[in-house]
Symmetry: C2
Subunit: 354 residues, 2 copies
């Protein structure tokens, strides 16, 4: 019985792999699972006494690891994609959208990429932090509504690529989760670098706050073979002596960070695609949310030019400039996310990463 099944499976799988994993219908998953990567460990002084288990003496504590859930489709392409969330977010960024459509996890599985969704150290399911923190329920969602460029609360932007019903808005707000320890660029990039050591060469997708530590991860680990950065935040690394002047905005001041030239050069050796959405003004405005993105986009352009000046391969697409309108800070889950995925897939094909 088992071997008959096996023969049948082998025949069917080769046929099915060709037609499954398209825009509809079932996903054929060769392998899926989860693991922790990286992190550190401390041991309390003293000797553990099993009769006093609540005292830390002699006990250990592991933390600051990344957590990943992965799926490898049948007939997978050579390089998987590691998808890294931004500030206040977790793996959900790439899962079902707030209005219930498929996110980049499913969309890229259907395109035969292995997909690793991570929670960075000190976030979500990677919650054990080596540093204490206090989490307070401070109301902040109108800040995020604006900062994520959905609109100017309570109005939505005209033509914004977001469903505007109450249930979608609720799912969107509930897709946030707090830091369980201080955000630390070194710690989170160490965690994701350790993940690449485990899985081998791959493509890194970053979102927002993940952008900055994403550059650091590629500097630390040459298994990062390409980066697609969705709306990277304020942390861009330049070579020593080449950091541009800070760019003030109505929200904050965007400052480049300096790294040794040798480290910077790692970023010239891989193809990089940067995408920014709509409703980012070119001129200063007195609205913090909009103006912060004006400053970030400006710094991102400086950065593209700096990397390319040293022989790099950075392409920055400001979506409205190529006729794609209405995207928020979450192009991977906006209503036109399949169009965005097409754009990214085209880039990966062009760079022979597919």
């Amino acid at each position: 019985m088992k071997s008959a099944k096996h023969l049948l499976s082998v025949t069917l799988l080769s046929l099915l792999a060709a037609c499954a994993n398209h825009s509809e219908g079932p996903l054929l998953i060769q392998k899926q699972g989860s693991f922790a990567a990286g992190g550190t460990m401390i041991t309390a002084p003293g000797t553990f006494n099993p009769r006093q288990p609540m005292t830390p003496n002699g006990q250990t504590y592991h933390g600051d690891h990344a957590y990943a859930f992965y799926q490898i489709p049948a007939d997978a392409r050579k390089l998987p994609i590691v998808m890294w969330h931004g500030a206040g977010q977790f793996s959900k960024t790439w899962e079902t959208t707030a209005d219930g459509r498929e996110g980049f996890q499913n969309i890229f599985l259907r395109r035969h990429y292995g997909v690793y969704l991570i929670d960075q150290p000190r976030r979500g399911d990677a919650g054990r932090s080596m540093v204490e923190t206090t989490i307070k329920p401070v109301p902040d969602e109108q800040l995020w509504f604006n900062q994520f460029r959905i609109g100017l609360w309570p109005r939505y932007f005209n033509g914004v690529q977001v469903a505007q019903d109450a249930q979608t808005r609720e799912q969107f707000f509930r897709a946030m989760t707090p830091n369980t320890g201080p955000f630390d660029m070194g710690v989170v990039s160490d965690g994701v670098s350790a993940l690449f050591d485990k899985i081998g060469p791959g493509i890194l997708f970053t979102h927002s706050q993940g952008g900055g530590p994403g550059w650091l991860t590629a500097i630390k680990n040459d298994k990062v073979k390409a980066i697609v950065a969705f709306e990277p935040g304020s942390s861009f690394v330049f070579a020593d002596g080449e950091v541009p002047a800070p760019i003030p905005s109505a929200f904050d001041t965007v400052q480049g960070a300096a790294v040794p030239m040798e480290q910077f050069m790692a970023l010239t050796r891989i193809p990089i695609l940067i995408l920014y959405g709509d409703n980012i003004p070119e001129q200063a405005v007195d609205l913090p949310a909009q103006d912060s993105w004006r400053a970030r986009l400006k710094m991102a352009r400086f950065w593209r030019d700096a990397v390319n000046r040293h022989g790099g391969d950075v392409r920055l697409i400001h979506l409205p400039e190529i006729g794609i309108h209405g995207n928020t800070h979450f192009p991977m889950s906006d209503l036109n996310n399949v169009q965005i995925a097409d754009l990214v897939a085209q880039f990966l094909k062009e760079k022979q990463l597919d």
Copy 2:
């Protein structure tokens, strides 16, 4: 092209569904995604000012929801399984085991059950809590090693169903994540009850600390059609006036909780299977970890008898009594977890839930 593919797919899928999803080979997933369920919301007094986005005035905060990632296999059985973690844990309990084998997520997908993995409110990816908390990195892992009955640190129990290499131990410790708000039986059972309202009738698997709020969830929501409780912790609910005397142990005192008879009776209307593993003494011992489980198993037996006395259908299996040895507090991920899954599947079949 598309319709040809469609025809081919339909033919192949019906064939493949019969032979895929077995103990090896690819999983055929009809649908997968994630969502938040339940929770509450507050609004800070005042009016939101987009020019002062860091002040909470007039802003909202959503929290205390559950988060779920689900997968529905092709050719799914009628009732899905909702898998609920215990203390200090998250969805990982049911995913890849610490030594890299498949957990109950994959094992039950292969058996054609839909699987919902949850992070309960204030844990992991459901991190937004309505109540403030402070998270401290206090070394405690030797406590857990003993409490989870892997051994008496640093020794493993003879014949324990756990791989004993350092990498497995590290993955096991890194599968913990803290509460991001105070643990609250009402809040977490409300979240999971809201999840059942979204998904409809299903089977609930609980682990450890999830056991107590699991009973409450079944009381709150008749869409819970059965419960399989793996090593439920100290919270058992009895009808008013029928709470047994507290059971002291070297770790703590196990106390039943009282609920109105009408609520209690909900637990007599569904089949319930309770499993406990090995290395639980029948007589009091002065080791807190072992003794705490002696007291819990004893209370679980009182509870089984109380529910069955009122016409219920509770079966309690202490695994060594049926010749299954070496199980820890995590039977769903122990080395013999396929054998445990067989036992559970047999129960579901017997109760016509499959």
